[in-house]
Symmetry: C2
Subunit: 440 residues, 2 copies
């Protein structure tokens, strides 16, 4: 039994901890025997010294074993989970889950709420009146069996120590550590008995980890640690240097997701959904090639079967399906303010961080966990990347409860658009595929 101080000193010296040492540490944190001040010093030492993949696997496993494991044995279909590191306008889970389910792969997804400039899937689902994100494990499993997809909220039963550790990281400047991020994500994902996991690691100004090289390192670490821990894991590194699609805000994003599920919607939202879906089908063994997977998925979007799955999921969760059939009901904000271009030209850049922060101001997000959100608030982009605009033409519309709220964000949203004289090319959202195990 090594004392907590000795473990801190060992990590401080840059030495690797043994799996048993990591187990002791996590057990001590979970039980409260190791006080927060020792935990935070340890976390800061990890920030500076890092952890090997072997240590990160041990940390992930130790964290997941502080809670319940949900094996989902009664679900016969192959089960593939998806996780995004969070972005602005990221409604992909809402499209992707039902779509992949329509292709015969079960999608058990436990999502979070929005915090800071990035939105959360739960808040988007709750824009649908009646949708319950707090199903118990049994009901979750039943919906998965019946519908093939269920999106619920984090339960306190999965890796509970992660909450405790994250709460300390948040207030001690130890959030941005790759092994700590990896263990936090994977401890919850591995507690769920899926057959594979597809990760969407975002890079760019709207992402949690803006730097592309750092995002790649995180993606590789997630794949490597996940595989060492026995899960099939694939990661896409995707572009978050502009908002996804044309909407930011809960009801607005759910409406956009429904459009995509009906075979329409913005091109980039559809493409990112398909790219992640292809990986999920390949991991599940439900398609032999990426081309075949893509054809299956395109068909499910275009023939209404993906939309039908979404509708059934909403129903199974107690949600009002009239909102699904008439998604304009989701965006009935009292006040709508156009943001006009002050010049003519082409939209060359849209700052996702600025729009993410503006959407908080409009009431769509939160800066503290206990705040509530306005489901109808948000931003609708009318001039996307590459679009030609003339002076006084709207770039975006702000949706808010009051004129005051909307006007307070007008300047920031206007400044988020860069208008250039010439049209600039912009690339695909998918920047990199990380499929193979990497060296630790």
């Amino acid at each position: 039994m090594t004392s907590p101080v000795e473990l801190i000193l060992k990590k401080r010296a840059g030495r690797a901890l043994a799996p048993e040492e990591i187990d002791e540490l996590v057990a001590g944190v979970a039980s409260g025997e190791i006080p927060d001040y020792q935990l935070s010093a340890f976390l800061m030492a990890v920030f500076f010294r890092g952890m090997s993949d072997r240590e990160t696997v041990a940390l992930t496993r130790a964290m997941l074993h502080t809670g319940r494991v949900i094996p989902l044995r009664s679900v016969r279909a192959p089960k593939i989970d998806k996780h995004s590191t969070g972005g602005v306008g990221d409604k992909i889970s809402l499209c992707l889950g039902p779509l992949v389910a329509a292709a015969g792969v079960a999608v058990p997804m436990i999502s979070g709420r929005g915090l800071g400039h990035t939105g959360g899937t739960l808040d988007k689902l709750e824009a649908i009146p009646g949708y319950r994100v707090d199903l118990g494990v049994k009901q979750f499993e039943r919906v998965l069996r019946d519908v093939g997809v269920s999106l619920i909220g984090q339960t306190a039963e999965l890796a509970p120590v992660d909450r405790k550790i994250y709460a300390i990281r948040d207030v001690t400047g130890t959030v941005e550590s790759i092994p700590l991020i990896v263990a936090s994500i994977l401890s919850k994902k591995l507690a769920l008995g899926s057959d594979g996991l597809v990760l969407d690691v975002k890079a760019g100004r709207g992402a949690f980890m803006p730097d592309l090289e750092r995002a790649r390192i995180l993606a590789r670490a997630l794949v490597s640690v996940g595989r060492r821990a026995g899960k099939r894991v694939v990661a896409l590194v995707t572009d978050m240097s502009s908002p996804i699609g044309l909407s930011i805000g809960n009801g607005l994003e759910t409406r956009e997701a429904i459009e995509v599920l009906r075979g329409a919607g913005p091109r980039d939202t559809r493409e990112l959904t398909l790219a992640l879906g292809v990986e999920m089908l390949l991991l599940a063994g439900a398609a032999k090639t990426a081309g075949a997977a893509r054809s299956t998925l395109e068909r499910a979007l275009d023939d209404g079967s993906a939309f039908e799955r979404f509708r059934r999921m909403v129903h199974a969760h107690g949600g009002d399906t009239r909102s699904v059939d008439r998604p304009e009901r989701l965006t009935n904000a009292r006040f709508k303010l156009p943001i006009l271009s002050s010049t003519s030209g082409f939209v060359a850049a849209i700052d996702p961080l600025a729009l993410g922060l503006a959407s908080i101001g409009l009431g769509a997000g939160r800066t503290r966990a206990e705040q509530t959100v306005d489901p109808a608030a948000g931003i609708e982009i009318s001039a996307p990347l590459g679009a030609r605009v003339t002076r006084k033409e709207p770039l975006a519309y702000l949706y808010a409860r009051t004129r005051t709220l909307a006007e307070a964000e007008a300047k920031r949203v206007h400044a988020a658009f860069t208008i250039a004289a010439r049209r600039r090319p912009h690339g695909d959202r998918v920047l990199d595929h990380i499929r193979s195990r990497t060296k630790s």
Copy 2:
């Protein structure tokens, strides 16, 4: 007003904090507004990123201003303080204070207790029956005026935040940070209104900081930060690769100090006392040259005036002067065990760390702050460095309350002595003088 997390992140990024930011941090720690887990994360970031001299000065000042400042204005003589980073057999303060006082320089000294393998001056003084280390500030000042020297214990009034910070450092692996060590030492020393400070920074296996280069860096930082904070500071880097003198343990060491004060005692104890005393007289302006200072001090040892000061200090502190006149009373342990050499040759090395740890086992030290010590316990070295020994001749004697306690340490003490076929030279204890300000 910068938030604690922002201060942690700034330091984590290797940036220097502004003095006002350090003030806020220290005030928050002192008031309890900043929780221990944020403090410990900050301290670990300081461990990895360091602090500039400017930051360390600000930290020292902020810490000292959480408590009382004792100006000692009624003491007319120049006042010079001394601090040692702690060693094994380090009874120098007991000889040095009275000696320097005899040369006309007042010595206000606030000392600590032993913890771990290094002893503490307070425990040594308390080996004298009746000696009170807990004089109030007024009495301390009176003894200083009347006798010219007073040795008391740390009061809760000086830099109280240091205790809080040190308690957290001790259990979070953040002790070995030069700026934190410097601020801890100097915040208490600067709170005392002395005209100068002489530091004894130990290097070698028995020291808190064994590596000579690290000890030099610490000494330079102490001198530089102390001077920037407005105090005249000089440091000697001294050798702690063998115990000082011939005794380890409270009563034994006090006896040895009395021998030195009477003009006798082991050569190295006397020489180290003189070397530090010379610096104190020079800092005080009480001697023009090192040679003149040394002559004055040698005379005070040899003519009994230094001893007389010690006797008066003990009396003023309520101590029994009969123990001073008959110091053999201080070493009346129930049991005395000789450790015999198993070979013939010359003593080539004596491991101070092993003897320091053995003295704890014998009852002379403590591993936890709340333990009490046995004043009569300890180790008497009979074969010092360079001495010729024959087989079965005693290397040392162990003093303890019981045979069991002594026998438990016999092997460790025996192994602490290295006997070689040839006599090896050993150098002076003073390894380096740090007098001038260094660049930060």
